[in-house]
């Protein structure tokens, strides 16, 4: 595959100002840019909408048609009332234009007070009142995740699985890649074929026996039951082997002259020199493990073992109407991946193009 990172990258500013030699844009250029802008809208739009929605309070979420930004009704503090009162502006009558706080409301009628004169209760009909609204971020959607649900537990489970599985996978796969790239031994080709063979056995087609093996090993309903079965991957072995082949054998021989053990050569020379390939594999592994769904769904059945993905999926069934929590949780689940994407997108692109993303 061609090296993707070498493709030219210009910033937004350059995009808007430079003309790069050509005077006028051909109509096909306009069509292209039109398509790409539609792409921005279609690809980013839904995510932006999700994030904005997650900051809306329940009233705003129930509103139809929805508004773009999160609005909430403002409240005012009035002397003599412990709680802040909902703010309204009077639209007609003697008090037209006045800002009032609502104290009671029933059957089309409302009792309000003017902040300047808190003792006098005024009765109005509700159609004389218009709520005062401002942009407000309902952060309680997020804070209640920690109060009402075991959110930290799910977050910890996901993090633990992702970190442990990535470390284990890097170690095991780089050891195998080292053996397959730096040693001449009988049976090497057979092992390579074996590794290719595992490409044909995705987890999805061996669910039942895998379940038996994991149960027999005592890993049912344990995070290790998710971590260990996926630790050896043909993609990882091939990706690292391809890279390690390019490390000159002379370096290894020089180290052997200095009486370095083979393990030391692996750990102190080959692994650091393979850092770019290991970084790519690490990013892929983090992505796979964080987003993993089907296998955890089978192995982890107790709520306290749920990963974020499982928790999200089970809550969407239980809390059909609790969109505020669900939206906030969705945002927090995609946040780590979005962060990885922003900082490392160049590596991700090369990594995926070079492995075929299995």
């Amino acid at each position: 595959m061609a090296d993707l990172t070498s493709s030219r990258r210009t910033g937004i500013l350059g995009f808007l100002t430079a003309t790069r030699g050509r005077e006028r844009l051909h109509w096909t250029d306009w069509v292209s840019y039109g398509y790409l802008c539609l792409g921005i809208f279609l690809m980013f739009g839904p995510v932006v909408w999700l994030v904005l929605s997650s900051f809306k309070d329940r009233n705003e979420l129930d509103r139809f048609p929805p508004r773009f930004l999160p609005y909430a009704q403002e409240t005012i503090e009035v002397d003599g009332f412990d709680e802040p009162l909902l703010a309204f502006r009077v639209t007609e009558g003697d008090l037209a234009g006045e800002l009032v706080g609502q104290t009671r409301r029933a059957a089309g009628r409302a009792e309000v007070v003017v902040p300047a004169n808190p003792d006098e209760r005024i009765r109005l009909t509700t159609d004389q009142l218009e709520p005062v609204e401002g942009i407000a971020f309902a952060t309680e959607n997020y804070t209640q995740l920690f109060e009402r649900f075991n959110f930290l537990r799910f977050f910890w489970n996901s993090t633990f699985i992702t970190v442990m599985a990535t470390l284990l996978m890097l170690l095991v796969n780089s050891m195998a890649a080292f053996a397959l790239s730096k040693y001449q031994f009988r049976g090497r080709n057979a092992v390579l074929l074996l590794v290719i063979g595992t490409l044909m056995i995705p987890q999805t087609v061996v669910l039942v026996p895998l379940f038996l093996i994991v149960t027999e090993l005592g890993m049912f309903n344990s995070l290790w039951g998710v971590i260990i079965p996926g630790a050896a991957t043909p993609t990882g072995v091939f990706l690292l082997r391809q890279y390690m082949i390019t490390i000159p054998d002379e370096i290894l021989d020089a180290a052997r002259m200095d009486k370095a053990s083979e393990w030391k050569i692996f750990w102190r020379i080959v692994v650091p020199l393979s850092a770019p390939a290991i970084a790519v594999l690490a990013i892929l592994a983090i992505m796979w493990r964080w987003n993993d769904f089907l296998w955890p769904l089978i192995v982890l059945t107790r709520t306290e073992n749920f990963t974020l993905q499982l928790a999200l999926n089970s809550f969407q069934g239980e809390l059909q109407t609790d969109w505020p929590s669900l939206l906030a949780m969705t945002v927090l689940t995609l946040l780590p991946i979005a962060a990885v994407f922003m900082f490392l997108q160049k590596y991700i692109a090369t990594g995926i193009a070079s492995t075929g993303g299995k």
């Binding site: 790409l36 690809m43 087609v205 089978i298 993905q309 689940t333």
Partner: protein
């Protein structure tokens, strides 16, 4: 963290040096391979063999010793159909519904997705400013987890969601999308294309960039039009990459489960139940747990995947040589 790792490595070195003395350098390779081979053996090859055993035994017990041998009767159950085109005529009608859903889904999803990926890659390969930015725009959804993808679109498509609001505003009027079988299926195809097309765009773009510039310069000299250049030069030179993309997309399409399960739960009815969901439900979600039937269905899927994977390896080799 790093200091813990490096001290672990120092401890591991002691037995490794002993093994090196014992085995010699070249046979030490097997020691390096061992953890990987154990994992492959336990979690890939052994399961394949056990899968065959499961498919030929009955009862809802997971332990093999408690499962009576029943021969090919699980396959018999699955394949008992008077008309394979009509799931209603089959004993295990849900299996055939899932099979036909999967076939339809894969055909539509792969066709639409590869088409749009190609279009996007061709546009990104033009003299476009901010190409890196646009490339990552299309790639971004690939990183999202399936459950997140499902929830994002569920939120947009719900009865009082933003799409219905827009349709109301234009006068077309809203619709309860995921309650209607055909619409639920169409949206399943859509979100699947949305979530994965960036990945294939990336591969196709790499393929396009590998086509040498001078071929195009020659075409300009010969006054070949844009469309002719595309059909006679770009497409043939891109065809090895296209083949890789097609096979990869097919392999992944057949295994579609996560995002659709979180999106529609397979419904309404069985409208979006695909083959992996059928296996999951037979083996793990329903009672009694029909492990044998699930294993038999898995074997049939595995057969399809083996053929596709061989095709992928062959296509990969062709794209490297060509």
């Amino acid at each position: 963290m790093l200091s813990v790792i490096s001290s672990v490595m120092r401890i591991v070195e002691i037995p490794m040096i002993a093994l090196q003395r014992l085995l010699g350098i070249n046979r030490l390779a097997w020691v390096f391979l061992l953890p990987n081979l154990i994992l492959f053996g336990l979690f890939a090859f052994l399961p394949v063999i056990l899968n065959v055993v499961y498919s030929m035994t009955g009862s809802d017990n997971v332990l093999l010793s408690d499962r009576p041998y029943i021969g090919a009767s699980n396959f018999g159950t699955l394949l008992d159909c008077s008309d394979f085109l009509d799931p209603n005529s089959c004993r295990e009608d849900k299996f055939w519904r899932a099979v036909w859903n999967t076939i339809w889904f894969v055909t539509l999803q792969v066709g639409i997705m590869v088409g749009f990926s190609l279009l996007t890659a061709v546009i990104l390969n033009r003299d476009i400013r901010a190409r890196g930015f646009f490339r990552s725009v299309f790639f971004f959804p690939v990183l999202l987890s399936p459950v997140v993808v499902a929830l994002i679109w569920k939120w947009i498509l719900q009865r009082e969601g933003v799409l219905n609001a827009f349709l109301d505003w234009t006068g077309i009027g809203g619709f309860n999308w995921l309650v209607d079988a055909h619409w639920a299926f169409a949206w399943s195809v859509f979100i699947s294309v949305w979530a994965h097309m960036g990945f294939y765009t990336l591969i196709l773009l790499a393929g396009l960039q590998a086509i040498p510039r001078d071929v195009y310069e020659a075409a300009i000299m010969d006054r070949a039009g844009a469309w002719r250049t595309f059909r006679r030069i770009t497409l043939p030179l891109l065809s090895p990459t296209m083949l890789v993309v097609l096979v990869l997309a097919l392999i992944k399409g057949v295994q579609t489960f996560d995002e659709i399960y979180a999106f529609t739960g397979g419904g309404p009815g069985t409208a979006t139940t695909f083959i992996i969901q059928y296996i999951y439900e037979k083996g793990f979600a329903g009672a009694p747990r029909l492990f044998g039937l699930a294993a038999a269905a898995s074997l049939l899927v595995a057969g399809v995947l083996v053929v596709l994977t061989l095709a992928q390896l062959w296509a990969n080799r062709r794209s490297v040589d060509g």
